[in-house]
Subunit: 511 residues, 2 copies
Amino acid sequence: MEKDIFKGFKEYSVAEFFKKNRQMLGFSGKIRSLTTIVHEYVTNSLDACGEAGIHPEIEVWVDEIEKNEKYLVRVRDNGPGIPEKHLGKALGMMLAGTKFHRYVQQRGQQGIGAAGCTMYSLVTTGQPVKVVSKHGGVKLSCSLGIDFKANQPVLSERQVEECPPEEHGLDVEGVFGDTKYENSLQGVREYLKRTAIVNPHAAIIFNSPEKERMEYPKSVEELPERATEVKPHPLGIRPNDLLDLAGKVKGYTKLSALLQNEFTRVSLNKVKELQDLLPDVDLGMNPAKLSWGDAEKIVGAFGKVKWIAPATDSVIPIGKEQVEKSLRNILNPELVYVTGRPPKIYRGGIPFIVEVGIAYGGDIKSEGKGGVVMRFANRAPLLFDTGGCAITQTAKNVDWKRYEIKNFDEEPVAILVNVASVHIPYTSAGKQSIASEDDVVEEIRNAMMEAGRHVQKHLSGKRREREKSTKRKAIMRYVGQLSSDMAELAGNAEAEALKSRLTGMIEERFE
Amino acid sequence: MEKDIFKGFKEYSVAEFFKKNRQMLGFSGKIRSLTTIVHEYVTNSLDACGEAGIHPEIEVWVDEIEKNEKYLVRVRDNGPGIPEKHLGKALGMMLAGTKFHRYVQQRGQQGIGAAGCTMYSLVTTGQPVKVVSKHGGVKLSCSLGIDFKANQPVLSERQVEECPPEEHGLDVEGVFGDTKYENSLQGVREYLKRTAIVNPHAAIIFNSPEKERMEYPKSVEELPERATEVKPHPLGIRPNDLLDLAGKVKGYTKLSALLQNEFTRVSLNKVKELQDLLPDVDLGMNPAKLSWGDAEKIVGAFGKVKWIAPATDSVIPIGKEQVEKSLRNILNPELVYVTGRPPKIYRGGIPFIVEVGIAYGGDIKSEGKGGVVMRFANRAPLLFDTGGCAITQTAKNVDWKRYEIKNFDEEPVAILVNVASVHIPYTSAGKQSIASEDDVVEEIRNAMMEAGRHVQKHLSGKRREREKSTKRKAIMRYVGQLSSDMAELAGNAEAEALKSRLTGMIEERFE
């Protein structure tokens, strides 16, 4: 009996694992699954264009194959394309990619995105995805599947042609079951609209299953700054990260040198200070010999030293003007205000920036109810897990009445919040909501209040204008009667002249 | 420039992936992380004892190493132990195990559980876990870590001794950072109490960091039925599952034979019926040649045939008596009622069973507020993601007032709901809440209403008793006065005799 227990002991591949646990990749619920697919492809397109310094032009098609069940999704970009050497792995192998190991402000999941979509297509319709990649003068067309047992790409129907080197881009198309298209706040259309709002340098076109064509042309010329890899700050890491770094980065014979070169704000003087705090740890040791215990002590000492805050140039905001232009472009509001606040630090060592845009009036209400909160992390829209998100909660807790917004949920007001950081504090695996880190929440609140004050100015201006005009009208109603009464009382005055003088006085008063 | 983009293209291991995405394994938040660790070990112990036919005796220790930060967790069982050949992989390799491939009613995650704990220990404290396994006359002690790059176990400090073959079991101990012990509804203590409630055949002891010792002795002698692998029902599968089956199961030259032998309820006649519905598909084909298109057609035809419902003996309830005994044991209530309803089917092909136990009065309220809902899936307590769970929502929607429970949240009432199935419809990766499948929700509601009616009987009995006794007392108050008044009016009657006759009449009436 006991021997049988281990009979079935097996190893299985990560592709098999995610095939069984596809919810972990955002494939849960038909609507969310469709949005996830578009999100993964569009994110890859934006990131690839960003890295290659190209103005993104992205066109998305969603076609109904079977209502509320099966849809074709196609995403075509003008990015750098993918060379054949990497194409299979990029789209047909889990846990392969360029994004995983870097400490850089990024959008995407980590090397699963597009391969996850291929998996979903195979699992729900049995079809591989079709890819056309133009890169370096070569146009490669093929179908891509996954060998789940081996977690390896399966390439078929390969066709190679020459193409002009100035033509480049990726064009992916797949048919996905267990999906549903809905024109809701969590659907593809809203996802793309919001993506366009925070990427005004990109041109995005969406062809919906209802044969609508939505065009979001680019509204600014400048490309966003490129995200760069940054060195960690001593207050932003844990013992485990220090050990990882000591094991990964080669070429140092002394830990002290590694600390000075691989961290930001660690000077020779700071190393000395640390050494004084650590009589049992020799910072001159070989990094390869660093033990957990020592790493823990060093991180403990990090907490006791006074550090200059990390440089914040690693955080790349969308930009005040950019957000303003695209809010005007897309929502056509009567008022827009966007904060341009400096970056802040959370947990003492992790820089981040919060941008809040607020728009009032115009087409906002026609988009649904009032009080829209659009959440973004590193320019990627967050559409799910709304309730637990620090952005939503903070927006709820702001006393909007103070800013003349009497009923936030009913008035034509939209807030956009983008949190940018190398390390966004997500609440969970789904990466759809931001955790309530104190420093982050405080900054979101302050930015919202700043935005609120501007709306207040606008609205109280409007209110005073309205009140004035009401008063004036009320007084004006008496002018006729008053002038003729006065003319009569005075016996000889001319009613008309009197009326015109009175009117003049009132006009002057209420100008 | 473009060439640089792919410079960082890398593959990485599943262990590295989960190290970065530990929330996916339930390691999010300090309290939840600690509960997850205990859950993974205890689940493995219960499953191992179950498979070996052993009455589980499990002892759990949680010791504070650093308050609200670092705790030692030790779990010792009397299960079969793990032979050295499998020990490393079971505790130090992701995606290895016995549970992944089987279609069987099970508790645990899929081959990540214990290895995930080892990962968490390494990442938060740098320490491997310590293991003592007694199996087949050998006692093996060692430390176990993970080589993250290779996703391979690292075994050290290995010691092997002989031991009497009748001694067996596993004893795992680790130190885990980023954890917090709290005596709350989501903490280890509540987790173990609830585990004890639904596993009355197991003896569970918990030694808390506050040096309390909670003992939950076994309250029933019979071991639960063993979960067995079952064949799928045609209505419970999708094209992808059919293709998997056709690819995996060897030895069939004809698809029709595979259908008859690898599915439940598929007879020769049914195959003929299917063939008539599928003029373009030859069910006599070699299963290896099954295409997605044909699989899709076959699954479509499955939906058009009238099937006998699947056998439901694969679903193993805890049992009416068992739940009743343990609710009495642990909550000491004045009333307990447990439903003993037959299994049902959802989506036409997946059997499941719902057990609802209700307890009223006794120690329930002392455990916190009233209106406790204890959720379980295949006997494993669900403590997180409460809001979205079909069990919680259904409990909220039941009109408890009809059952004399005026304010569910305030009264001393506890409901236990266990959903058992080979395929629990979880809402998300965390496996902490059950999706609102119509058939499942309906059955939960019916079971709750059945339980409600029994509480109503009890409570309305109590209420009537109370009302009677109030009335009787009220009437009795008049008896003395009435008898002496009557004696006086009658002139000659004896007041005492009259009073005793009146009292007799009233007593009789209110008996």
